[in-house]
């Protein structure tokens, strides 16, 4: 009774003492959050779009610049190197590493979800160990990997030499045959824990009773994982795949720190090209145009991906 009375009183107070009509209150409550988002996210994005239509050099930022329509987009699309950079970004950097991360991530998560770790109370330890790469700053991770891959003193080459597999250290980052494998290895090592931890959390949310009843019905472990676990993980896999694809597609640090886009421009990706055009060639307008194109590609990918998922979900329902 007290609660009801109190609630009624508050409600009446709102009606009589509020500054806004009740219908506008929800909007007023979310307005601060919208303003913050607009300031920190929409503002820079709109500024970048505006720059992409201007002839602006690095030294002319903050000044009024000439509006040039789509000239920057034309220059970027007709200039050399964009197709190769797009292929490197989409396939060599994103597709390969996302697929491998999903496979390794799922495998490791299933392994870490094994009862043996719980029985020996080692769950916290393995989860902490898995997180180590993720808490290592990318710049440190790449520096460490560069040392590991050093042809003369690196541990990887020393191991291969000691096993008699090679006669001389391989300069992994200098050769076109090995450089992408080396960069992808760095990226996967550093970013895999996110996938593992997310899948592990999803696995732990699957009711044990489902697996137990399947076992009672005579299902093998393989059948349990393919027919029960995987279908239940589908929504999580879909979201992880989407997020890792977007993050990796836009990633700049791994290629830049490991190879600077080299040797030659063999590992040039869209993000490093955008940086080079903006801050080396000083053509900020064209750099912004590359950024806009990257955003458009990712918007199309995300909407397409989510549309397909939603259609499949409806079909399944």
């Amino acid at each position: 009774m007290t609660v009801l009375a109190s609630g009624r009183g508050q409600s009446m107070g709102r009606k009589t003492g509020g500054y806004l009509p009740p219908s506008l209150e929800p909007y007023a409550l979310v307005l601060p959050a919208i303003l913050v988002l607009a300031f920190f996210f929409a503002g820079p994005a709109l500024y970048n779009i505006a720059l992409s239509f201007q002839n602006v050099s690095l030294f002319d930022l903050g000044q009024s610049n000439e509006w040039v329509g789509f000239a920057n987009f034309v220059a970027v699309l007709t200039g050399g190197g964009l197709a190769a950079a797009f292929f490197n970004t989409a396939v060599m950097q994103t597709l390969i590493t996302v697929v491998l991360r999903l496979l390794f991530g799922l495998g490791l998560a299933i392994l870490l979800n094994a009862d043996v770790f719980k029985r020996w109370q080692l769950g916290w330890l393995v989860r902490s160990l898995v997180l180590i790469p993720f808490v290592t700053p990318p710049v440190v991770a790449v520096a460490a990997w560069k040392w590991l891959l050093d042809p003369r003193y690196g541990a990887v080459n020393q191991l291969l030499l000691s096993l008699g597999l090679i006669e001389r250290g391989i300069p992994f980052l200098s050769r076109t045959s090995t450089v992408w494998a080396a960069v992808d290895a760095m990226l996967i090592w550093r970013e895999l824990p996110f996938v593992v931890i997310t899948f592990l959390a999803a696995l732990q949310s699957i009711p044990k009773e489902l697996k137990e009843s399947a076992r009672i019905d005579g299902a093998s472990e393989f059948q349990i994982h393919t027919l029960i676990v995987l279908p239940m993980l589908k929504p999580v896999i879909a979201i992880v795949a989407l997020l890792t694809t977007i993050w990796t597609f836009n990633n700049f640090v791994y290629v830049w720190l490991a190879t600077r886009g080299g040797p030659g421009d063999y590992t040039q990706v869209l993000a490093t090209k955008m940086y080079t055009v903006s801050f080396v060639d000083y053509r900020v307008g064209e750099g912004a145009a590359i950024g806009v194109l990257m955003s458009i590609i990712m918007f199309i990918f995300a909407f397409g991906y989510l549309a397909v998922l939603s259609r499949k979900g409806k079909e399944a329902a």
Partner: protein, 427 residues
């Protein structure tokens, strides 16, 4: 009565004005000085700044260090936003670009008020800090490159004198690699062959071209900018450096080494992995510290036309947003003065100071190269940003070193893109 009141109000106002001006006079000025050389090379500068702070309690300077690759872009973003350091260390090649966009304070009134050192004309490479006859930076340190080598390894390989020409360098490099048993233990010539926009390959490529009488771009008699190097000259240059990798006289992993201060080069010389490389003075000194055996310097090899290197260095500029330009100018005068160079192990950019320097025997290579060194003025004045030219050349050389293109294809690509950049610059 009224007169007394007016007098009291007047006196109290005068007193408060005097007190506030006295207080503001006592207020400490804080300047920010940003530099971008690696922390391993600035101990002497830190000591000089500490010394300034100890003797100038009213003007305290905070030293900031930023990586060289990010400094220019950071400055270009900060200054239009009304921020940035009071005093900025600048690469010689940046000053004019920044001045054109009004990102540096014009220094002529300050120079007229109090001229630095033995006068502004005493500074080397002043033309690079000047735009339309106005000075926007003060050249601070000057340097060039010379060859650096291990005399013991040359002697062991039967190389009696340091190679005087580019061809002799290639021959000596072969001998030195063979003397190391042809294994990965010893290479004849090591150099930064990376494809990065700031790779040292650009410098070496220019030394070879200039010494053989060519240059990437030049002005014709009518003052029109054009690509000056021929495809054949450029292909020969690329071929020359690529041969070190083809012959195995330079280690393949240098294809990813961009900085001359990279441990592969600095440590490699000390360890004897590399017998010959090329360094600016401060990097040579760092290598000397790491080497158990003595190191020496020698002049850059001669080409068919001449022996040449570039005159590089650092300048100092004042941020137009600085609230304390006079104090910043005082500090710049201190930095360019002899006191700073007592602890800061760099060559000063003042002719009067450099003439008094006593070079150690191991640095004789620099003594021979400094008089023939030329600035990048020829490129800075062109319509193409030097950074674009550098990035293009490094990228194409790297493409050849890694087997993606042959020298002729790379030469054609460089010339084509230089022509495009010239056309764009004019437009």
């Amino acid at each position: 009565m009224l007169k007394n009141r007016i007098a009291m109000v007047f006196c109290s106002t005068a007193l408060s004005v005097m007190l506030s001006s006295w207080a503001s006079a006592q207020e400490k000025v804080e300047l920010t000085f940003r530099q971008f050389d690696p922390p391993t090379e600035i101990q002497g500068l830190v000591a000089a700044v500490d010394s300034w702070n100890a003797s100038h309690p009213e003007v305290q300077v905070k030293l900031q260090t930023m990586s060289g690759g990010d400094t220019l872009a950071q400055l270009a973003r900060e200054v239009p936003a009304g921020a940035g350091p009071d005093v900025q260390q600048l690469a010689f090649v940046w000053t004019r670009d920044l001045a054109k966009s009004k990102l540096l304070l014009q220094l002529d009134p300050l120079i007229a008020d109090k001229s630095p050192g033995a006068g502004i004309k005493d500074f080397l490479a002043l033309e690079l800090a000047t735009l339309d006859g106005k000075v926007f930076g003060v050249p601070w340190t000057a340097d060039t490159f010379s060859m650096a080598y291990r005399p013991d390894l040359l002697k062991a390989a039967g190389v009696a004198n340091f190679p005087d020409t580019w061809d002799a360098l290639a021959d000596a490099s072969k001998k030195l690699s063979e003397a190391g048993g042809g294994s990965a233990d010893q290479y004849g010539f090591c150099f930064p062959a990376g494809s990065s926009p700031d790779s040292g390959m650009w410098i070496l490529a220019n030394y070879y071209l200039w010494s053989n009488g060519s240059t990437f771009v030049d002005q014709d008699s009518a003052g029109k900018w054009k690509v000056s190097v021929t495809p054949q000259e450029l292909a020969k240059t690329i071929e020359y450096f690529n041969k070190f990798f083809v012959d195995g006289t330079a280690p393949e992993n240098l294809i990813t080494v961009n900085a001359w201060g990279d441990p592969e080069l600095v440590g490699g010389l000390g360890r004897g992995d590399c017998a010959i490389t090329f360094f600016p003075p401060q990097t040579f000194r760092a290598a000397e510290k790491q080497s158990e055996t003595p190191l020496m310097t020698a002049p850059i090899p001669k080409g068919s036309a001449k022996r040449i290197s570039h005159l590089g260095g650092r300048a100092l500029g004042i941020n137009p947003n600085s609230k304390h330009p006079k104090e910043a100018w005082e500090f710049i005068q201190y930095l360019t003065g002899p006191e700073t160079f007592k602890t800061y192990n760099q060559y000063p950019a003042q002719k009067s100071l450099i003439s008094k320097l006593a070079f150690p025997a191991s640095e004789q290579g620099y003594v021979e190269m400094l008089p023939v060194a030329q600035t990048f003025e020829r490129y800075i004045s062109s319509p193409i940003p030097v950074s674009s030219m550098t990035a293009l050349v490094n990228r194409e050389f790297g493409a050849v070193f890694s087997g993606q293109r042959n020298p002729e294809e790379a030469a054609t690509a460089i010339i084509q893109q230089l022509n495009e950049l010239l056309a764009r610059g004019k437009g």
